[in-house]
């Protein structure tokens, strides 16, 4: 404190000079329109650039939440869409609710692959629900914790998915042979069905795990042996599982009812 006072008394002229000049300068900027305009404009020129850069960075960082919002919105729209189709058939309402989720762990290179999603039973996820994207099916929920769930991927030795041909509605089952994450095999399609390379395979909805009519892949190779009852087809996945980021967990609203009914048959 004493040093401060000493400093002030020593330099009082300089300090007074600076103070008065600051006052004068502030008055100039405050009271004179031309100077104020010029001052503010020049500051704007500098600050606008800074703010622009800053907001670019900010936008970059908020991309994640923006994406999540969009995913949420998508889920809502999907739900609305499926309500709209409600009148058509009861099957179309079997898969109703969509829960958006983010893939936080993913594997494609193993023989049996699993994914981890950032939604758990707190968000309404249950064991046995399907996981889809607009471009294909991803897998089935296998384990659920409070905030997370693990998914048995389509790229798994035990995974069998019911699919149909888009144009003729013959159904088959999709299996992954474990070599390339981009291709899989479709069996059980009768050999009298005419197939072309490039035909689209869609989900059947028979299992009530996945909604119906989700495109899964296109036929890339037909290696059916003569005199066999069923085709042997290779398909190319539409979804790139390596870049999977946002998925939807789907819930068949009436799937329990259907399961009970089917159990009675056995």
């Amino acid at each position: 404190m004493r040093n401060l006072l000493q400093f002030i008394s020593k330099n009082h002229v300089l300090l007074l000079f600076i103070l008065l000049e600051l006052c004068a300068f502030l008055m100039i900027v405050q009271n004179n329109h031309f100077q104020r305009a010029a001052f503010i404009n020049s500051t704007n020129g500098v600050t606008a650039n800074i703010f622009q850069t800053l907001s670019n960075w900010k936008n970059y960082f908020s991309l994640k939440s923006a994406n999540e919002q969009l995913a949420l919105e998508n889920a809502k729209l999907q739900t609305l869409l499926s309500y709209k189709e409600e009148n058509d058939t009861i099957a179309s309402i079997l898969a109703k609710r969509y829960i958006p989720a983010m893939v936080i762990n993913n594997s494609i290179a193993k023989r049996n692959n699993y994914l981890t999603l950032d939604k758990g039973f707190k968000h309404g996820v249950e064991k046995g629900m399907g996981v889809v994207t607009p471009n294909g099916v991803v897998g089935i929920i296998k384990e659920v914790s409070e905030h997370f769930s693990s998914v048995l991927s389509v790229l798994h030795g035990k995974s069998k998915t019911s699919v149909v041909l888009q144009h003729s509605h013959y159904f088959g089952s999709l299996e992954w042979k474990g070599e390339n994450y981009q291709t899989a095999a479709v069996n059980d399609i009768p050999s009298h069905v005419e197939l072309n390379i490039g035909d689209t395979i869609i989900s059947s909805g028979y299992s009530f795990i996945y909604p119906a009519d989700i495109p899964i892949g296109t036929i890339s190779k037909i290696n059916t042996k003569p005199h066999k009852n069923f085709h042997q087809i290779d398909i190319q996945f539409l979804e790139d599982f390596k870049q999977l980021k946002y998925v939807y967990i789907t819930e068949g609203v009436l799937s329990n009812e259907v399961k009970e009914l089917e159990n009675k048959n056995e």
Partner: protein, 172 residues
């Protein structure tokens, strides 16, 4: 002492009146506008406390600003030359450093024309240059320098004449 204060108050009023009523309406060749009111600051006694000079300069500048609607502009330049006054005086008149307690003020007759010209010229130049920079508030260097030089020459001439007349009168 009272005499000195009264003298400067009268000078203050007279200089501002001349400046505001006459010289501010003069615009030679479209850009030369002399400012002679700073004579008050030039002629303050040598041993005036520096803080007092600064405050006086602020008041003087603000008074001129008030008439011209340029709040702060002249005040800024006046404070600047009030601060620069002492270093320049000490440079021109080294003997002042040792002297104490004198109501002596700068006089053309006593210190010679050359010193008076340097003293007046440097302060006028600093004042005008800072004033025109702040007035244009942009880096139009050419027009600022032109206006500074033009106005400075006229101001210096006027100030030297006034100083000459002033001390001629006072000695009488």
């Amino acid at each position: 002492m009272n005499n000195v204060i009264l003298k400067h108050i009268i000078r203050f009023v007279v200089l501002i009146t001349i400046q505001v009523l006459v010289l501010n309406n003069v615009l030679f060749m479209g850009y030369i506008n002399p400012y002679i009111y700073i004579l008050l600051l030039l002629l303050l006694p040598f041993d005036t406390p520096r803080w007092l000079i600064l405050i006086l300069a602020f008041c003087l500048g603000i008074s001129v600003d008030a008439f011209q609607n340029t709040m702060g502009l002249h005040a800024f330049s006046c404070i600047l030359i009030a601060y620069c006054r002492r270093p320049i005086l000490h440079f021109l008149l080294p003997q002042l450093k040792n002297k104490k307690q004198s109501y002596l003020e700068f006089s053309l007759q006593e210190f010679g024309f050359q010193r008076a010209l340097i003293y007046t010229g440097s302060l006028v130049f600093i004042h005008h240059f800072s004033l025109f920079i702040l007035e244009s508030f942009q880096l139009e260097l050419f027009s600022i320098v032109l206006r500074t030089l033009g106005s400075s020459i006229v101001s210096i001439t006027l100030l030297i004449i006034i100083q000459y007349l002033l001390f001629k009168d006072s000695k009488r």
